[in-house]
């Protein structure tokens, strides 16, 4: 099928190695197959939106990229590192890959600033002064520096998610993964988070975003990937993807979410 062929085809110029390569990746939960023959290549600076019905494996896919989930078969390479079960490769990959979660997952017992400086100090060995300087710069960038000394519970959902983005950026990642970053937000807070993500995209960050925000996909994505039942069904440039979806299941899904 044409759509699955294009999934494996490298888009980048051959001179630059892709940032993320997934080759024939399979994932099983016991007898249940969560991912089937995933082939995906993401070049540096590319923005990818993953969509699909719930249970289609989108979250599982991105969670395999930083090994929050192990994969059963195939091969994943991130920034030139072949991700295996070994702690060394997992460490190396996680150092380069930032992640933002649906539920924010800020640490409730630390201030916003401490949330941001924890890992740079503990894993990169940065001094407190350096880590704080970086954190303040990035909190400024997500427009939340004035809340630096508050605790997560004192912030709104949208503010918390922007902190989570800043916290991930403090590690200076090469790739950012977003797992439904706006799904837990009240509607009036979605925009502030999406604006932050758009800003990040404009600065050239490599991003894989699981989201149902099709407006964001239209505006930012280089490629939209549609998944169902653990497989990549269809992918394409947002212009083609939204106006001329090839696959019946894609049309049904877009019909569902764009109805309103």
């Amino acid at each position: 099928m044409a759509s699955t062929q294009s999934a494996a085809a490298p888009v980048a110029s051959p001179a630059i190695a892709p940032m993320i390569v997934m080759e024939a990746v399979e994932k099983w939960y016991g007898p249940y197959k969560a991912l089937t023959d995933i082939n995906l290549s993401v070049r540096q600076g590319e923005k990818i939106v993953l969509c699909g019905p719930s249970g289609s494996g989108k979250s599982t896919l991105i969670r395999c990229i930083n090994h929050l989930e192990g994969y059963s078969k195939g091969r994943i390479t991130v920034g030139g590192v072949n991700l295996t079960e070994s702690a060394k490769t997992i460490d190396a990959v996680r150092r380069d890959v930032g992640m933002v979660f649906q539920q924010f997952n800020l640490f409730p017992h630390m201030t916003i600033l401490q949330n941001c400086t924890l890992s740079p100090m503990r894993t990169l060995g940065q001094s407190k002064a350096k880590a704080e300087a970086t954190a303040r710069r990035l909190l400024e960038r997500v427009k939340i520096l004035d809340q630096a000394d508050k605790y997560p519970a004192q912030l709104s959902g949208g503010q918390q998610q922007r902190v989570a983005i800043a916290r991930a950026l403090c590690m200076e990642p090469k790739v950012m993964l977003f797992d439904e970053p706006t799904s837990a937000l009240d509607p009036e807070m979605v925009k502030e988070v999406l604006d932050t993500m758009i800003g990040l995209a404009e600065d050239g960050m490599t991003m894989i975003v699981v989201t149902h925000e099709m407006g964001f996909a239209r505006q930012v994505a280089d490629r939209v990937i549609f998944m169902a039942k653990g497989e990549i069904v269809e992918e394409g440039h947002p212009k083609d993807f939204f106006t001329a979806p090839k696959h019946e299941r894609t049309r049904a899904f877009l019909g569902e979410i764009l109805r309103h």
Binding site: N66, L68, D91, R94, R95, V97, G98, M99, F101, Q103, N105, L106, F107, P108, H109, M110, L118, S119, R122, T123, Y151, A153, Q154, A164, R167, A168, M171
Partner: protein, 257 residues
């Protein structure tokens, strides 16, 4: 206890033969009683510290990926929670030294000791601290484990995604909110531990109840002695409650939703 010789000297009140209150011996024994209070608080604090260490260490081993470690901790918890504290004290104080004697001889034979020494012969106070710590620790494992399990998986994943290792995630991210979640249960267990120090009088550890028994034995002012000691335990418990509150304010005062 034979009390009849002293009873004969009791003066009647209001025409009836009875017990006349006399706090004189209690006042005379006050320095000893106050030292006993310090002994009790020392045992309690040392026991709590040990129980906390065993509790947190036990939780780490209890959820280890290595099954024999999990079984070891589970067996330990069951053993301690299903046997009486007094028997545990007696076992450590009277039974273990007999084992220690054999062990010392054996280690001497193999050249591990310069002379046969009983390594398991413990003082009453050391015995009491170990017994309190081990006993409180077994309960603390179950309590703290509940707290750890109440922390959402997302917290752990966020830590891992930031590149922290499992041990760092536990220590820096999980532990404090977990302790906060079960802090009331843990402190009520520790209040119980504080009061359980009185059982250590059975092995003559230096604490308030031992002192009370001595004063009572010498004076037979039973009501006065135990009335005073009751008040003293109440004050000790209150001081512990103040300490628990201070710790809570210092470490667990961050806001939550």
């Amino acid at each position: 206890m034979v009390k009849s010789p002293k009873r004969a000297t009791v003066v009647s009140v209001g025409g009836n033969v009875g017990y006349k209150f006399d706090f004189g011996p209690v006042w005379d024994g006050m320095p000893d009683l106050l030292m006993g209070c310090l002994g009790t608080m020392g045992l309690a604090l040392a026991g709590m510290l040990l129980a906390t260490v065993i509790g947190i260490g036990g939780v780490i081993l209890r959820d280890s990926r290595f099954p024999p470690l999990r079984w070891l901790v589970m067996s330990f918890v069951e053993l301690i929670r299903n046997t009486p504290f007094l028997v545990q004290c007696y076992f450590i104080f009277f039974a273990l030294p007999l084992l220690g004697e054999q062990l010392g001889v054996l280690m001497f034979k193999f050249g591990l000791l310069a002379k046969p020494t009983n390594l398991l012969l413990l003082s009453p106070t050391a015995t009491a601290i170990i017994a309190l710590g081990v006993n409180g620790g077994a309960y603390a494992i179950e309590i703290i484990r509940g707290g750890v399990q109440s922390i959402s998986k997302g917290q752990v994943e966020a830590g891992l995604a930031l590149g922290l290792h499992r041990a760092q995630v536990f220590r820096l991210i999980v532990l404090k909110p977990a302790l906060r979640a079960i802090y009331p249960s843990l402190t009520s267990q520790f209040t119980l531990l504080t009061l359980t120090t009185s059982v250590a009088s059975a092995i003559a550890a230096y604490e308030l109840t031992s002192v009370a028994e001595i004063i009572n034995g010498n004076s037979f002012r039973t009501f006065e002695v135990y009335f005073t000691v009751t008040i003293m335990y109440l004050i000790i418990s209150s001081l512990m409650a103040l300490l628990f509150n201070a710790i809570s304010r210092r470490y667990f005062s961050y806001p939550v939703k």
